[in-house]
Structure formats: structure tokens, C-alpha cells
């Protein structure tokens, strides 16, 4: 037990037949800085231990030193593949604490953008997952469409990745002229692009052989170990927070929740690809039902920053702006756990307020963190090459795991 004094976790081999293989933290297939300690017997994995924390930046601690509105940009940095979904979860948690009512136009915009983010996040997953398996060209195709989406985010928020577009009480800016046409253009083109990916992968014998029956997990095991999102639905549990416990206007949308029974990498692949199409469908509905006019911010002058125009003409607006920026706004005492369906699973924000302008505690229940726990269970007894497929299939984002 000499390793107890060492700085890094170390696995001991149980007997002479096995050896320890160190996979990561700099390994192309670990999607970031994930270190896996594998005890292997030949090519077979006997035991696996994930070692995380390389990206730990103490975001939860930082949040406690910021005003409520200053936390929004921090939430972008957790899951950098879908920043707006994180923004959404945080602002909705704070809005629940405040009891704020959000105007419909802002709600529809949020749903539209959250679904576009789900598409772009799944595109990164599809591209990298396929590349891990060896299908290089899919990666280029996926990033082509993702680039279109990034341009759309840039158009609406001024940033490609760290958007911080959602604010407590509504949105930061009115969407610019020509925005909806551009989104509509993208959504019209998108289904045939998904067909293109599927042509390359879904019927591909090599791809199927690498994925089918690999890293299987049953529904009971998946629930016990904390899997959520598409990975859970691929094991046959039909649960989607958007449909079953709707939040932020999702009750107005009609969509299917794709599920699979097998619980292997192939099932998770099929689930996510089907979700690409469903997200496009939700975004299309959001675009059609979008109220053409109306406010994008809640009517709460002490919480929501006033319009620039008003600040220049009205004394009160200027005073509120000054007060919000310099001393924040007090949030009534209480605690809220708000969970939404992120592309990876259940994203939950636990916000505790002590009645001041700074949150007392912000905890992120990140889906990747819980999903990663399932990895050893999926891989033990399987081959090393399958680990690569399994990591890709649970779609982890290390920024979100380490926070």
C-alpha cells in the first residue's frame, strides 16, 4: 500500500497475469484530459479507474464571489459545447428563486437556441465519435454544419462559443434582422445533411461491427449508476425531462423521444442521430410559433438591465442600471434545484440564496460527471479497443466533469 503517499492515484495489480496501462490524460480518444487507469490481462480489461480533475478551475467557488448576473458567463465555460443550455439552466434556477415571469418571445427564443445548441453539440459528438472509430470524413462533414451554427450564434450574441446570451429575466439582445431567415435556411438544409452522415455510417459494415454489442449496460444498471440523457434512453428507459417534466415553454412543443432497447454503443449512436432530427423538428416549431413582436425581457426594473434608449432619456432607468451593475440585486432567501435536459443528460443547478446579491452556493449537477461513472461498468471484461468506442458513446465533456 505504498502508493497511499503518492500524489497520483495508482492502481495495484491483483496478480502477476495483469498489468497496468495508463490511458490519457493526453490521448486523442479521451475527448479532453481524462486519465484512465486500466488493469489489463492481455487485451482484456480487468479493472478500470477514471482519474479526473485536470481541468478543475473551481467555478463553483468563483460563483460565490460574483453577483447573480455575473455568474452567467461562468456557466458557459462548464460545458463549452452547449453554453446556452447551461445559461438556460442557471437563469431559470435564479428566475425560480426570484419568482420572475418571462415574456413568451424570450421563452421561444430560448427553446430555439437550446435546440440549435443540441444539434451543434451532437454534431461534435458524431464527428469525434466517428473519427475515434476511424471514419475521418464524417468529422469534416459535421464540422461544416457546425460552422453554420456557430455563425448563427455569432449573429445573435456576438460570440461563436462563449455566448452568454441568456440573461436573468430574458435575453441580452433583440435578435438581429435576417436572423430567423438564416436559421430557417439552416433548418431546411439540415435533414439531408443528416441523411448524408447516415449514408456514411449507419449502413457501414465496419462501423456497425465496431459498435454493435459493445459496452452494453442494462436499464437497471444504468439507473443505479446515474446515467441520464440519450445514454439512458438507449438502454430502454423512456425519460426525457423536456417532455416529462417540461420547463421553459417545452410543453408547447410536440416531439418524439427516441429510445432504443439494446443499451450498447450502437443503440446510443442511433438515439443521438435520431435526436438530431427531433431537435431540428423542435427548432422548426419554435421558428413557426415565434411571437413576431413583444418584449424579450421581464418587466422587473430592479433585476433586468434597462434598454440603452431608456437610460438616455429616463432618470429611473439610469438609477436602476447603476444599482444593478454596482451592487447587484438581492434574491429572496431559499434554495432551488432546477434540472433541464442538456445534450448529455440531466443538467441541474442547485442555487442557494441567503438573501444577498451574491449566491451562497451554486452547484452544477453535470451530466458528464455522473455518466462517466458508468464507464468502468461498461468496459470491464471487454477489449481495450472497445474503451475508445465506449468513451465516445457516452459523450463526455471534461470541462463539465471537472468544473
Amino acid at each position: 500500500m505504498g502508493h497511499l503517499n503518492q500524489a497520483n492515484p495508482v492502481l495495484d495489480t491483483a496478480d502477476d497475469r495483469t498489468m497496468i496501462l495508463n490511458m490519457g490524460p493526453q490521448h486523442p480518444s479521451t475527448h479532453g484530459v481524462l486519465r484512465l487507469l486500466l488493469e489489463i490481462d492481455g487485451e482484456t480489461i480487468v479493472r478500470m479507474m477514471p482519474d479526473i480533475g485536470f481541468l478543475h478551475t473551481g467555478i463553483e467557488k468563483t460563483c460565490e464571489a460574483k453577483f447573480y448576473q455575473q455568474v452567467v458567463p461562468l456557466t458557459d465555460r462548464i460545458d463549452y459545447l452547449c453554453p446556452m443550455v447551461n445559461n438556460l439552466c442557471y437563469v431559470q434556477a435564479v428566475e425560480k428563486l426570484l419568482g420572475l415571469e418571462i415574456p413568451p418571445r424570450a421563452l421561444w427564443m430560448r427553446v430555439l437556441l437550446a435546440e440549435l445548441q443540441r444539434i451543434s453539440s451532437h454534431l461534435v459528438w458524431l464527428g469525434t465519435h466517428a473519427m475515434d472509430i476511424g471514419a475521418m470524413s464524417v468529422f469534416l462533414y459535421c464540422f461544416r454544419e457546425r460552422e453554420d451554427l456557430l455563425r448563427i450564434y455569432e449573429m445573435v450574441s456576438g460570440q461563436r462559443m462563449m455566448t452568454s446570451y441568456f440573461r436573468i429575466g430574458g435575453l441580452a439582445l433583440e435578435p438581429p434582422l435576417g436572423f430567423f431567415e438564416k436559421v430557417k435556411d439552416f433548418l431546411d438544409r439540415f435533414p439531408e445533411k443528416v441523411d448524408e452522415y447516415e449514408d456514411l455510417l449507419t449502413g457501414n459494415r465496419i462501423f456497425i461491427d465496431r459498435l454493435k454489442g459493445v459496452a452494453h449496460i442494462s436499464a437497471e444498471d444504468a439507473l443505479a449508476i446515474g446515467l441520464t440523457g440519450p445514454s439512458l434512453r438507449a438502454s430502454g428507459v423512456d425519460f426525457d425531462i423536456r417532455r416529462d417534466m417540461p420547463y421553459g415553454g417545452y410543453e408547447n412543443f410536440k416531439f418524439k423521444v427516441p429510445t432504443q432497447k439494446d443499451g450498447d454503443v450502437w443503440a446510443r449512436y442511433l438515439c443521438r442521430v435520431a435526436e438530431l432530427r427531433e431537435s431540428r423538428e423542435i427548432a422548426r416549431q419554435a421558428l413557426e410559433g415565434m411571437p413576431s413582436s413583444g418584449p424579450i425581457k421581464a418587466d422587473a426594473p430592479k433585476i433586468v438591465l434597462p434598454d440603452r434608449e431608456k437610460m438616455k432619456t429616463q432618470m429611473e432607468a439610469l438609477i436602476y442600471h447603476f444599482k444593478i451593475v454596482t451592487e447587484g440585486f438581492a434574491v429572496p432567501e431559499g434554495e432551488v434545484y432546477h434540472a433541464i435536459e442538456s445534450p448529455r443528460g440531466e443538467m441541474g443547478y442547485y442555487v442557494v440564496s441567503d438573501g444577498t446579491a451574491k449566491p451562497m452556493r451554486v452547484h452544477m449537477r453535470s451530466p458528464s460527471y455522473a455518466n462517466l461513472q458508468a464507464l468502468p461498468q461498461m468496459c470491464e471484461g471487454k477489449l481495450i479497443a472497445d474503451v475508445v468506442a465506449a468513451i465516445g458513446s457516452i459523450d463526455i465533456v471534461l470541462g463539465e466533469i471537472d468544473r
Partner: protein
Amino acid sequence: MPLAPAITDLEQLKNRPILADLLAWNPGAVEKARFDRDELTVFIARESIREACAQLKSRGATDFLSDLTCADFYPRDPRFEVAYHLLSIKNKQRIRLKVVLGGDDAVLESITSVWPSANFFERELFDLFGIRFLGHPYLRRIMMPEDWEGHPLRKDYPVEGYR
């Protein structure tokens, strides 16, 4: 949508779905309850938390552990409130179980035997808050380096600067 005042009267809340299961099992374990902002919080006696989770699981009242976390109310004593967010996928309900812990003896029974998913969450609390979980299979630091001193998410740990 103005905030409704919180309900803290156990009598008024006793018929709420998951709380009713807890009361039917052991009324002594339920210290108090609060219904605020559409969320039900039940304070559980510290020694019965594992048993309470096991009961809720075996009765089918909850079937998923969403989250396990903690808030530090320093300098109040007892300072820690550990929160278990349980979900019933079947009935689409959530409940928050809470255990209040003092700073000197921040020790709690691990619920990994009930929910294996608690493993990483409990390690995170051990690492960042210094709460020890008895019966945890591998209670080691998870975010911070193994040789780190102190528990960063405690309120008496500075946000910036050298210690």
C-alpha cells in the same frame, strides 16, 4: 408570479407523495419539512439517511439519485447541509432530503450501497467540503491533487490569494 410563502408545517405536508412514504416508514427519522418554490425538502435525522434512501428505493417512491451536494452555512453551527436530490422517473416527482451536519464531526453514512451513482458525488463532497462518508468504497480526493491541504468549497477557505 409573486412567490408563495413557504409551508413548513409537517401536518399540512404529510400527504405529499414521497414524504408520506417516509412518514409511513419511520416518523421519527423526519425532523422537519418545507415546501418552497414547488420543491419539497425533508430534513432527515443524520443516522437514518442511508436507511431512508434504501426505504424510498425499495418502496418504489424514488428510482433515481439526481444529485448529491452540500452547502456550507458557516459561521452558523451546525454548518453543513447535505442535500440529496431524488427523482421518481415513474411518477415524475422530485424530492430533496437534507441532513444537517456540524463542522467538528462531519461524518455521514455513505449511500453508495443503495445508489452506486453516489460514489463520485460523495468523493466530491469529501474533497471539496471535507465530509467523510462511512462505508464508501474509495473515499479519495477527486478534483484536487491528492496532497492538497484544505477543502476549497468551505466558506472559511479564501476565494483568492495565498493561504
